[in-house]
């Protein structure tokens, strides 16, 4: 399933920003010079004002749809009603990319309102691959799946996370949304090697990169945990890991995400400018060599 086919507004290998409700009006007013924008699919499932803004904004800016609630890792299967809601948004928005997470949120009919960690097992892998296949068939297009940020590991996990994600891409034919901040957060939380993680992902499958800020929180048990709260600037260590990712993957559409304490639009555009500078310096050849 190629992204180019039936894709009227492809996402360029440039820097984009996450579009949040706070910026709907200012984006229409100033028409910022940004290559593309991404929205959370779940925020546009009703009618009325939000979709009207998105209709107006997408007239001259490619849009990517990023889902946060499909729960690809649910043992009990996907919610057909939610799948249909996503399809309807996609039909209206005609997104250049569609993505979801390697995570789960729903069990026994309860939505737990977070991207929860999966045990990295063969059973989970089979479940996720089956669901990605189901989504791609339903949407009639390829999707990207994003590596999670996690705060705990399960005793029964047997597969390194990067191998799990590479296997999902290989088996289902989906692409990978490489969240560089998530790699950094999870690697710090679990003592992983960020370079080994990047090296484990197949460059040809990388369709998008996410960058965001995170926070550091001490826990009562004396440990420290990094929380992926998308509430601040991208930190220097993550920018550095992003350079490493670009060297390995070549130029890839890159998104600045910011969801809590959303700053003025100019701050997001400044972060995107920095990503654009690093993107421009990335060697496009690297990707074709690795992919061969």
């Amino acid at each position: 399933m190629s992204e180019a086919a039936n894709n009227p507004c492809p996402i360029p290998a440039k820097a984009g920003i996450g579009l949040r409700f706070q910026h709907h009006q200012v984006v229409l007013d100033v028409r910022p010079d940004v290559a593309w924008m991404e929205v959370h699919t779940e925020n546009y499932m009703g009618g009325g004002t939000p979709l009207r803004y998105l209709d107006a904004i997408r007239r001259d800016c490619p849009i990517s749809l990023h889902g946060v609630g499909l729960s690809l890792g649910s043992a009990e299967g996907l919610d057909p009603a939610h799948l249909e809601r996503i399809r309807k948004v996609a039909e209206r928005v005609e997104p250049g990319l569609m993505s979801e997470h390697i995570a789960w949120s729903v069990v026994d009919g309860t939505y737990l309102a977070d991207l929860l960690p999966l045990p990295m097992t063969e059973e989970s892998l089979a479940v996720v691959c089956h669901h990605v296949d189901q989504v791609q068939t339903y949407m009639k297009r390829r999707i990207l799946v994003e590596n999670p940020s996690t705060y705990l590991r399960f005793r029964h996990s047997t597969i390194p996370e990067w191998e799990f994600i590479a296997a999902v891409a290989a088996r289902s034919g989906c692409g990978i949304l490489c969240d560089v901040n998530n790699i950094y957060v999870s690697a710090c939380n679990h003592g992983w090697d960020t370079s080994a993680y990047l090296a484990g992902l197949p460059p040809a499958a990388i369709g998008e990169i996410h960058l965001a800020g995170h926070s550091v929180r001490p826990l009562p048990d004396g440990s420290t945990v990094r929380i992926d709260d998308h509430g601040s600037r991208v930190i220097a260590e993550v920018w550095s890991l992003y350079r490493e990712a670009l060297a390995r993957f070549g130029p890839v559409p890159t998104l600045i995400e910011w969801d809590n304490d959303v700053p003025p639009l100019d701050v997001l555009l400044g972060e995107a400018d920095h990503a654009a500078t690093l993107l421009a310096a990335a060697e496009p050849e690297v990707r074709s060599v690795d992919a061969a």
Partner: protein
């Protein structure tokens, strides 16, 4: 080894049920139970925020701390069922009505019901209003058999207190308007709808209310006119149609129309 479903049920018990035992037993060595709290906090914070966005006037009336306390209890009793959180909180008004700590605010449940209706109006699907030419093209004998299909953004609400005035005053932070609210002024009947400029809440008088509830419940136009004795039904219907409050219609079969009328005569 735990299955995926066992793992997910253990996490649910921890996050919603407050029982960490099964989840803790599944954590890798060196991973403390505190890590489960991170997910629990994210969930409660996220869902509470969704409630606050749907019930902003309730939030202001009771204050942030009280609201969060009520939300935690509510979420435990009625956790969300789908990731579409704009659609979450249908049971919150009823929950507040029987929430003992809020008993002094007798109108709180009704304000919440109004906010839920406002939320429904805000997020309802986009549907084109009924093309009035289709109605005009009907034979005269068929026009009385018309049952109209309401626009999904339109809602009707009867409340014991002047909740529209309270709701507006709270959101506008208009203390003078709030001071002028007379709680004993009697019930209000409201029509809530999404217009191009936003959600509007308007009051209906007794006759207009009877006519509107009949129409919106799917009675035929003829039946609705009969139910709203004393109303200038023709004018009211024209207003509803001009405002785009209906999206479609169907015709009650003539025979069914008679039996429908018979069974609905007792309706107040």
């Amino acid at each position: 080894m735990s299955t995926l479903l066992e793992t997910q049920r253990a996490m649910r018990a921890s996050l919603v049920g407050g029982d960490d035992r099964a989840a803790v037993a599944m954590l890798a060595d060196g991973v403390g139970a505190d890590r489960l709290n991170i997910y629990r906090n994210t969930m409660v914070t996220g869902v509470t925020k969704a409630l606050r966005l749907t019930f902003p006037a309730v939030h202001r009336l009771v204050g942030a701390d009280f609201f969060e306390g009520a939300a935690v209890r509510f979420i435990a009793q009625h956790p969300p069922r789908a990731a579409y959180l704009d659609d979450y909180g249908a049971e919150f008004p009823e929950f507040l009505r029987s929430f003992e700590p809020a008993a002094a605010l007798v109108y709180l449940g009704d304000v919440a019901r109004l906010e839920w209706a406002v939320g429904r109006a805000l997020h309802a699907a986009d549907v084109e209003p009924l093309d009035l030419k289709r109605l005009a093209a009907l034979a005269p004998q068929d026009q009385a058999r018309v049952c109209l299909v309401p626009h999904p953004s339109v809602g009707l609400l009867a409340a014991d207190y002047p909740v529209d005035a309270i709701w507006r005053g709270v959101l506008d932070e208009d203390d003078a308007a709030l001071a002028a609210v007379a709680l004993d002024a009697g019930p209000v009947r409201l029509l809530v709808e999404r217009r191009a400029t936003g959600v509007e809440v308007s009051r209906l008088d007794e006759a207009a209310w009877c006519f509107a509830t009949a129409l919106f419940d799917g009675w035929s136009v003829e039946e609705a006119v009969a139910a709203a004795a004393g109303a200038s039904a023709g004018t009211l219907l024209a207003e509803h149609l001009a405002a785009g409050r209906f999206v479609d219609f169907h015709l009650v079969p003539a025979k069914l129309g008679a039996s429908f009328a018979a069974t609905h005569k007792a309706r107040p």
